[in-house]
């Protein structure tokens, strides 16, 4: 009989659930530091560049701080939507596809009016972007409610379909007619002011997508804590049978959760294509939809947690880029470092859900 055992807690420890992300970050710094040292870099310098310099370095800080919002905005927006479904046991893995379709439909809606200067164009694009993501998410939703298909597979496969549609419209339907035959749409940010998602306050990184992310966090918080739908979502996730008896319709829940996540992912795509990215191009998507899954879990599927997790994730990206630039560190080392963060988070979760017992088990009396 082993001396160290894991004993399941009756309920996850609240204190530890809250603490594990912080412990995971600290453990990552340690393990990452060892890896950096093994690669021949100063671990203290590397950790400082990744976590401190993007925020406080006098040379890079003024540029990096706003960039944190730019990078975190789409992650938070998508993760907030995904978390609703995850809480209810509905696994939408295809946010990347919904993000792409939101960008295509939204950008297409704007480009149809090029070169109009009407102030109505951007709001219209926002609606179209949300619709694009929503409609793409409705495919797995309806297939699941009608035919019982697995939403994990369907939503994931639709990412690849969306990527091919993206490649097609970049070199066909939405291609810039003045682009010398190269793929890629007109640049919305540079060449089409009425359709561009500009910073609301200059040099703050605060564009409409970041605002939308904050609003989404607040609404999700209210929904989950105050609204009947939030209660249904939690009940369905924690006690599916009880939810059924309480009259929660699984079909309605699936449509709601997938639809909301899709619409938010679509919005993220629209704000990205009209802002930081600027144009529809073949490699427009860079994995926000997948990274957001990590952010959702890192944030404990809680809106405020997701907000913090999104910012942390953005920090490791931007800090990681700086470490590459300043130390000549290989990109793979940074990816390993990010992977460690997720690994330690999951490992620490064990302690929130289980108690460590030393010695032989007590016998229940």
């Amino acid at each position: 009989m082993s001396l160290i055992r894991l004993e399941k807690r009756p309920a996850p420890s609240r204190l530890l659930s809250g603490l594990t992300p912080i412990l995971a970050v600290i453990a990552t710094m340690f393990a990452g530091g060892i890896m950096f040292a093994a690669l021949g870099f100063s671990p203290f310098e590397a950790i400082r560049i990744i976590f401190w310099d993007p925020l406080f370095d006098p040379q890079f800080g003024p540029y990096s701080r706003p960039q944190l919002l730019v990078k975190a905005g789409p992650l938070i927006l998508i993760a907030t939507g995904l978390a609703l479904g995850f809480r209810a046991g509905i696994w939408n893995i295809g946010a990347e596809g919904q993000y792409i379709m939101g960008a295509i439909v939204g950008a297409g809606a704007g480009l149809a009016f090029y070169p109009s200067e009407s102030f109505l164009i951007f709001p219209f694009m926002v609606l179209a972007g949300a619709f694009g993501g929503w409609a793409w998410a409705m495919i797995p939703a309806i297939l699941k409610t009608r035919f019982g298909t697995n939403e994990i597979l369907v939503s994931l496969m639709l990412v690849y379909v969306a990527e091919n549609i993206l490649a097609s419209v970049s070199s066909g339907l939405l291609r810039n007619p003045d682009g010398m035959g190269f793929p890629g749409s007109r640049n919305l940010r540079r060449d089409f002011p009425a359709a561009s998602n500009t910073e609301i306050f200059a040099d703050t990184g605060m564009h409409w997508g970041v605002v939308a992310a904050f609003i989404a966090v607040i609404l999700a918080y209210v929904l989950m804590s105050r609204h009947k739908m939030g209660f249904s979502i939690r009940l369905a996730g924690e006690a599916p049978r009880a939810a059924r008896f309480a009259g929660v319709s699984p079909a309605r829940l699936i449509i709601f959760c997938l639809g909301t996540a899709g619409a938010l992912a679509g919005l993220a795509g629209l704000f990205e294509v009209s802002g930081p990215a600027g144009q529809i191009s073949i490699d427009f998507n860079t994995g926000y939809g997948f990274t957001a899954i990590i952010v959702a879990f890192l944030g404990r599927l809680h809106p405020v947690g997701i907000l913090l997790a999104g910012l942390l994730m953005a920090l490791t990206y931007i800090g990681g880029e700086l470490a590459q630039l300043m130390l000549g560190m290989p990109a793979a080392a940074i990816q390993l470092f990010q992977g460690m963060l997720l690994f330690f988070l999951l490992a620490m979760d064990v302690f929130a859900n289980y108690r460590v017992r030393i010695g032989t088990p007590e016998i229940a009396k």
Binding site: F60, R175, T198, E321
Partner: protein, 361 residues
Amino acid sequence: MKLATRLLTGTALAVGLAGMAQAESHGEPVKAGFIYVGPVGDGGWTYEHNEGRLAVEEEFGDMVETVYQENVPEGADAERAITQMALSGADIIFTTSFGYMEPTVAVAEKFPDVVFEHATGYKTADNLAVYSARFYEGRAIQGHIAGNLTESNIIGYIASFPIPEVIRGINSAYLHAKKVNPDVEFKIIWAYTWFDPAKEADAAKALIEQGADVILQHTDSTAPQAAAQEAGNVYTFGQASDMAEYAPMPRVSSIIDNWAPYYIDRVKAVMDGTWESHSVWQGIGDGMVGIGEITDAVPADVKEEALALKDSIGAGEYHPFTGPINKQDGSVWLEEGETADDGTLLSMDFYVEGIEGEIPN
């Protein structure tokens, strides 16, 4: 109003940086930055750009400092990477993939005192030059060898993205394969990636299954070479880099991108203060496009012809797109003896007569 504020802050930023750049020019080494789309160990496109960077270091020693960032996605992340590089005090920044065009243009506007060099694009500015290589010249030699080697008369082609550069390569290779082997047929797979070993291997296997015994690639990994080696009796060509580890079979020759002379030249210009924006397109003659050793798997007479072709292209005596050439739909593109102009080549969006299939759009 908002726009005006943005412009003002942009200018303020620029002025501040200009001061920085000047302060640094007193005896400080010139700092050259490189933005790479793949990992430096890709064995192809990025590898060769990095070789160019190392050549710059070798040439100038302490007078130069180089920095690079690899695996930079094209789009919003690229703009941040380039900006951070400029903020870190780089004097000249090479952005080495087509997808960096818009981000490079945007950053170049904000940093008027840093000079930028964008590979394979077409947008220039006072502090933004573009450079590219006439890879189609190398493709002509590849096509010539491939047309001679194939026994199934099916040549497979792993294409990356349907952009003019790739389409030019296909056309050039086809025309020269057809010239030596009228029965030749091209099967083209669009991989929609520059570097993805798994996808490239799949494409190579699919082409081999369709009967191709020569495979040309416009993607950067050595995965197609490995797939061909496994299949046996399939010929390949190194792309962007020599890929000599697969010689003498399946790799029978290669197109090598040699950026080193250009990079040395441009960094020197920054040191001397003679840098000027331009748009250049260099080929075999200038040394930017190299032909890797043709191995003994190629019959001696074919090798000799290929080298003669290389010399005549390098000397400017022969242009790979010399009429008569018809477009795919049968309409006349070039009359007898007419050569293609650079404008048409740069925006090429059609196949020449004889190639089956459509360019995806």
